[in-house]
Subunit: 108 residues, 2 copies
Amino acid sequence: MSDAIPCDASCPVRRAANLVGHKWTTLIARDLLSGKKRYSELLRSVSGISPRLLTERLRELEAAGLVSRTVFPTIPPSTEYELTELGKGFEQVIQAMAVFGASLPDPD
Amino acid sequence: MSDAIPCDASCPVRRAANLVGHKWTTLIARDLLSGKKRYSELLRSVSGISPRLLTERLRELEAAGLVSRTVFPTIPPSTEYELTELGKGFEQVIQAMAVFGASLPDPD
């Protein structure tokens, strides 16, 4: 990785950073890697996220074509989120983050 | 990557996300992977970052033990930043981000 080229808008690292650079986005993607989830499941598994931020991040992921949303006509309606083929590309990043994160000292 | 365990504070992905989850941090780390850099070089190569944010992110990286700072007693003093051994762990994440980013549609 020897690179002195400025990381401008066309740089793939910057393109990924625009997504990964939201902490919650990575944690949502991590949870979706094990399969589709309902909104309420994500709210539980992504510990600490607020409902407002979860909705916002999911909309961004959907707009970027990384997550698909299915609404079931139950009463009340329930919504399921799933990574698209493109979104499954998160896996390599999340795995690298897991290895790197495990090497970092415990923040506590 | 089949994982239904909540990603709480002890989760390595969350630990990495606390760092990687700042877009600029990843882009600074990307530039330091090719070797130590002066503050002014980083300001140029991390296109778009403000001096205030560059200083802030470098301080966070230094506090986390990921970047070391050397001040040279020139007039005016110059400062060089370098990834520590721990900081070099960014490489695997940046590489995975480069691959993922390249698969994403062009935002323009």
